[in-house]
Each structure stands twice: as C-alpha cells, then as structure tokens.
C-alpha cells in the first residue's frame, strides 16, 4: 500500500545558523556545512585533478572526494581515518588509511595483489595445470 505521507525533502534550508534539510531534522549548522565543504575541497585537491569534492547531510554534514571518471570515492572521517571505496565490474574494493592518498594507495595495493594472483593463476592454466584435484 502506498503511503499517503509525503516524503520529506533532503534539500537543506538556511535559517540563521542552521542549514538543515527537513528530512534530516537534526538542526545541522551552516558552520558544519562550511567545514565539510572546505574539507572536501582540500581532500579533492590533495588527491589530484581527477577528483572533485562532495558533501551531503544525514544527521550532520559529511564529505568525500569523488573520482570524475571511475566509481571511486574517498570518505572523510571525524576520527581522521579516511576510507577509500572503489567499485569495478560489479565488485567493491575498499581500505582505509591515515590520509586520503594512503587510503587510495591501500586499495590499489589490494587491486595489484588480485591482479598478480590472477596472472599467476593464468600462468598455471597456460602451463596445463589445473586447480581441481585429479582423481
């Protein structure tokens, strides 16, 4: 049954020091928004020209840097730990690090190890070996 209740908007509204969407309702502040926007901009700049800042609200203002071409994001954190989240071919690869670049490097390390393992497996297959136990 379709709900008759109208969904609240996630578009933030400014009311003095408050900058918060009706759907959030926490009373998030404009200062929090500015801080998140600044942190997102700094993070995107640190990661390089392929990255752009992203901020959003949901019980507080949050920030990330989004890769312009790939499905990849690095999320900022209040605990000063950054989380990189990459999606390739329907698979998710993620890792964290003390800096945005370290988080990205940690994901790249995971990807390199997977590629290396796949290449070694391919060599084994080309060499006529099999992964299945022979009867």
């Amino acid at each position: 049954m379709r709900s008759k209740v109208k969904a609240l908007s996630w578009t933030p509204k400014r009311n003095g020091a408050i900058y918060c969407a009706p759907a959030c309702g926490r009373g998030c502040t404009h200062a929090e928004f500015l801080n998140a926007a600044r942190a997102a901009k700094l993070m995107a700049e640190e990661l390089g020209p392929d990255w752009e800042p992203h901020v959003w609200e949901n019980l507080g203002w949050y920030y990330a840097a989004q890769h312009k071409a790939a499905e990849a994001k690095v999320y900022g954190s209040r605990s000063q730990l950054y989380w990189a989240d990459f999606h390739f071919a329907g698979h998710q690869f993620h890792a964290d690090g003390p800096t945005p670049a370290a988080a990205v490097e940690a994901v790249q390390k995971v990807l390199r190890s997977i590629v290396g393992a796949a290449q070694r497996a391919g060599f084994e297959l080309r060499a006529g070996r099999t992964f299945a136990r022979r009867a």
């Binding site: 926490r26 200062a31 500015l34 959003w56 019980l59 507080g60 949050y62 209040r78 605990s79």
Partner: protein, 96 residues
C-alpha cells in the same frame, strides 16, 4: 511506531559513547565557535538521539549508515547484533 522505551534507552547507552568517540576527534580550527570538541560531541549525540527517538522504529532506517555509520555499527555490536536498519528496527520495536 514508537521505540520501546527500555530498548531505546539500551540503544542510547550504547550509541552515545560510540558517537562521542567518533566526534571528539573533530578538528576544532575555529568553526566550532566557543564550543570545545567535547561539548560539540555531547550536543551532537543529544540531538541525534532526539531525532532518532522522534523518528520511531520505522523512521530510523531513514538515517541509515551514511550518518555516523561507525557509531551505529559499534552500538549494535555492543547490543549483540550486526547492524542493519532492519535489525535495529527489530531491536527497538522489541521484536528480538
């Protein structure tokens, strides 16, 4: 549906400390005004709990993981279950 009061209190007692830990590390380079990071963390924990209580059992899923996901997850682990919006709803509704 409102959360079961006893369950919400249990949740609040697990969630607030996790949230405080998450927020206390905030960089207070001017934007907090006169508030200290500790005061800010307490005010955020209070306002978040008010919102979550107001949201009720169904509404809590609305806030999902992109809002202090770490704190929500930690709280649920502390309460003995793995966080999903549904699992939290069932806990707050007294179903489990």
């Amino acid at each position: 549906m409102n959360a079961d009061p006893a369950r919400f209190e249990q949740f609040a007692l697990a969630y607030a400390p996790a949230l405080l830990v998450s927020i206390k590390g905030v960089k207070a380079d001017g934007w907090l005004g006169k508030q200290t990071p500790d005061e800010y963390a307490v005010s955020v924990a209070m306002s978040n709990l008010e919102v979550l209580q107001r949201a009720g059992v169904e509404g809590i899923a609305h806030y999902y993981l992109n809002a202090q996901g770490g704190a929500l997850r930690s709280a649920c682990t502390e309460l003995g279950f793995e966080y999903t919006p549904r699992a939290l709803q069932d806990f707050l509704g007294g179903k489990v």
